[in-house]
């Protein structure tokens, strides 16, 4: 059987679900962040697959911009986690409940 756009989209959907599961059930902020990275990569994979099978380079351009924004986002997010750790001495989401009523 020939490899079509469906195969890539199914890999992308499953990878997105794995990332979402990581965000939902892991409790460490760093592990949740890794789940976010997995979801971003799944979206990138779907965009590249669309770009190849629609014969349109704009999808790859979009992925280029996404990777750049993701790099900036990781830097800011990890700086926030470090600042939080300095203040609270924890990075566990179950301990960060000061916004709870």
């Amino acid at each position: 059987m020939d490899i079509g756009v469906h195969h890539y989209l199914i890999v992308s959907a499953v990878l997105f679900c794995i990332g979402l599961l990581g965000v939902l059930i892991r409790r460490g902020l760093i592990e949740m962040y890794m789940g976010l990275e997995l979801m971003l990569n799944a979206a990138n994979l779907a965009l590249v697959a669309f770009s190849r099978f629609q014969n349109n380079l704009e999808g790859q351009l979009m992925v280029f911009f996404t990777i750049t924004v993701a790099a900036a986002e990781v830097a800011v997010g990890l700086a926030l986690i470090v600042a939080l750790y300095r203040k609270r001495k924890t990075t566990d989401a179950t301990d960060l409940t000061s916004m709870k009523l």
Binding site: Y8, I18, L20, L24, I25, G35, L38, R52, L57, F64
Partner: protein, 163 residues
């Protein structure tokens, strides 16, 4: 050849992605980060199969290089050892599995009804660069400003306040 490579890279991507989230042997964040590196590298293999050679190189350089070094640096800086003893909560695990299973069913069902296009030979780096520096020059410049803003923000956030 293409099919075999696709199945190898897809299996590697999904297996390593799963090991990032649920590792039965270790709950150590460093292990998760290492499997995340492997996931990024397999995704870049999939990019090569999709003839997006430039993006495959960028993926390795930016994700497997810069982003993962940043992750490992922060993990080792914070010395997160106590998170290994934490157990996953059953209730949230069951709810999360149910929600994600529903989402997966919807997405895969949608993909099955999609129209398939024919693959054509695109994806040269030269064409991508031409498009980037002619039609999309303005977003490209905006991205550079965004990187500058992020850099200034990170320095401001991680600076210790001086009394």
């Amino acid at each position: 050849m293409h099919e075999t490579l696709f199945y190898i890279f897809a299996a590697l991507t999904l297996l390593c992605g799963l090991l990032v989230v649920f590792n039965p042997f270790s709950r150590n964040p460093v292990t998760s980060a290492m499997f995340l590196v492997l996931t990024m590298i397999s995704i870049s293999g999939l990019f090569v199969l999709l003839q997006a050679y430039f993006l495959a190189a960028v993926q390795i350089l930016v994700y497997a290089g810069a982003v993962m070094v940043l992750f490992l640096f922060v993990i080792m800086l914070l010395d997160l050892r106590e998170s290994e003893q934490r157990r996953l909560k059953t209730f949230s695990t069951v709810l999360g599995l149910a929600a994600v299973g529903g989402l997966a069913a919807v997405m895969i069902g949608t993909v099955k009804h999609a129209q398939a296009g024919a693959a054509t030979a695109i994806g040269e780096t030269r064409a991508l660069g031409k498009l980037l520096f002619t039609q999309h020059l303005f977003p490209f410049e905006i991205i550079s400003v965004l990187l500058l803003v992020a850099m200034v923000g990170v320095i401001l956030l991680s600076k210790r306040e001086v009394e």
